[in-house]
Amino acid sequence: MQVDAFAIRLRTRTPWEATDLGIRLCQREIRSVYRCYWAVALPPFALCLATFEIANWLPAVLIWWLKPWLDRVILFVLSRAGFGQSTTVASVWRSSDVVLWRQLLHSLTLRRLSIRRSFTQPVYQLEGLRGAARRARLRILRQRGGGIAALLTGGFSTIETLLTIGLLSLLIWFAPPGDSPSLASYFVGERAQFFALAYAVCYALVVLALEPFYVGAGFGLYLNRRVELEAWDIEQEFRRAFAH
């Protein structure tokens, strides 16, 4: 690891501070993160929304299911951002076999159900370890920060729900005057169908906006754990102080 190439000032951080570091990294690269993530995620999300014709609950479930797979694009951009490199859609395209298609089955099954997925994803995607070596690595990383990683997933999924309801509530706020439907009408009948579609669209929009921050926060946790284990912060400071 080329510690002197980092575009981050390393120091000892608590795991919570590390999640903030990841969010800051995401904020700094927000343009390239959104550009790459949206370019890749919009077509599958549009297809997911089209399944509304099959069942009105299906789009949200499919989007939820695909999230960890599409998160790989965000992590790809953020890992390069850590070294101060910007990423374009073209570079995602060139690396698409690694970013999108490697470990595809794993992303859609076991990884989907992992409660610490944002924290452990870098091990799967960036470290390139396999089998026993990977399990040992994950065990060491989880010793500190593993609990926070689970809280992170729980927190962000709650925040996702809050924002979806927030966006949806705008529909009610801006509903034309005179038409004051009862609450029940949102769940049964013709209006319920419209409401289900609106929910799916709002959910898709919230995921498109929020997911990079979740991935970023988990990446921050991962980085901090490695800084701690391998004393990268001290290496960075020594290289700066004793540069020849």
């Binding site: 000892t12 608590t14 919570w16 501070e17 999640t19 903030d20 969010i23 800051r24 904020q27 809280l151 992170l152 927190g155 962000f156 709650t158 925040i159 729900t161 809050l162 924002l163 309801i165 927030g166 966006l167 509530s169 705008l170 706020w173 929020l210 921050f213 926060a217 284990l229 391998e230 004393a231 912060d233 001290i234 290496e235 400071e237 020594f238 290289r239 102080a241 004793f242």
Partner: protein, 216 residues
């Protein structure tokens, strides 16, 4: 130099959730007691709800810790932007404006503001010129029992001294290879003694740290 470390959305989400749970627990207990009073009890309960919702944070933020129980547990504190303790007016402002952060529903405005701003402020913090930061924690004292102090070979600036001391503090948790690899980056600090000693470069650097922390 005063260094403030703003606290971001994930930790503040949980601090808030904990405070909300405490508020609801208090209300639940009150409701159990007040139920026997009928209509009057209901009136008292509604007043208690109002008071808890709006003044619980203000009360705790004006205490010496500057933090509600939830924030305290997560090591957070509320300060003015200047780093001074939060004033009563600012605390009122930031908490009354939770109503703005709540809009359109479920604190969406506050969440978006905290995600997009570098200092992780919500709207109430902006209006009141306050910030939520991590309370500074003193690092544990460096344990270097039995290490012979050794003066550094060159004059070291304070920041580098701090890095060498941090290195010594982390030494027990590093592998020997990694420790020596790191110490070899700082050879200039130990160079003078490196020829006439059987010590590894990590041990030599630890000896310099021992000298730097003042045990001479």
């Amino acid at each position: 130099m005063l260094e403030l470390r703003p606290a971001g959305l994930p930790v503040r989400f949980y601090a808030f959730a904990l405070d909300a749970m405490i508020r609801w627990a208090v209300l639940y207990a009150l409701a159990m007691v007040l139920m026997v009073l009928g209509g009057l009890g209901m009136a008292v309960l509604l007043i208690a709800f109002f008071a808890l919702e709006w003044f619980y944070p203000v009360l705790f933020e004006l205490m010496p810790d500057g933090a509600t129980p939830g924030k305290k547990l997560f090591g957070l504190t509320v300060l003015m932007d200047s780093g001074l303790p939060v004033t009563p007016g600012a605390s009122m402002t930031r908490n009354l404006l939770r109503a703005a952060d709540f809009l359109p529903f479920g604190y969406a405005a506050g969440i978006v503001s905290m995600l997009l701003r570098r200092d992780f402020k919500r709207l109430g913090d902006l209006a009141a010129a306050t910030c939520v930061v991590y309370r500074p924690v003193a690092p544990p004292p460096v344990e270097l029992a039995g290490v012979e102090p050794r003066p550094p070979a060159i004059v070291l600036p304070p920041r580098t001294q701090a890095a060498i001391i941090a290195f010594a503090a982390r030494l027990p948790r590093l592998t020997a290879e990694r420790a020596n690899e790191l110490a070899s980056l700082a050879l200039q600090a130990t160079e003078r003694s490196s020829s006439d000693t059987p010590l590894t470069s990590a041990a030599q650097l630890a000896a310099v740290a021992q000298w730097l922390v003042g045990r001479r």
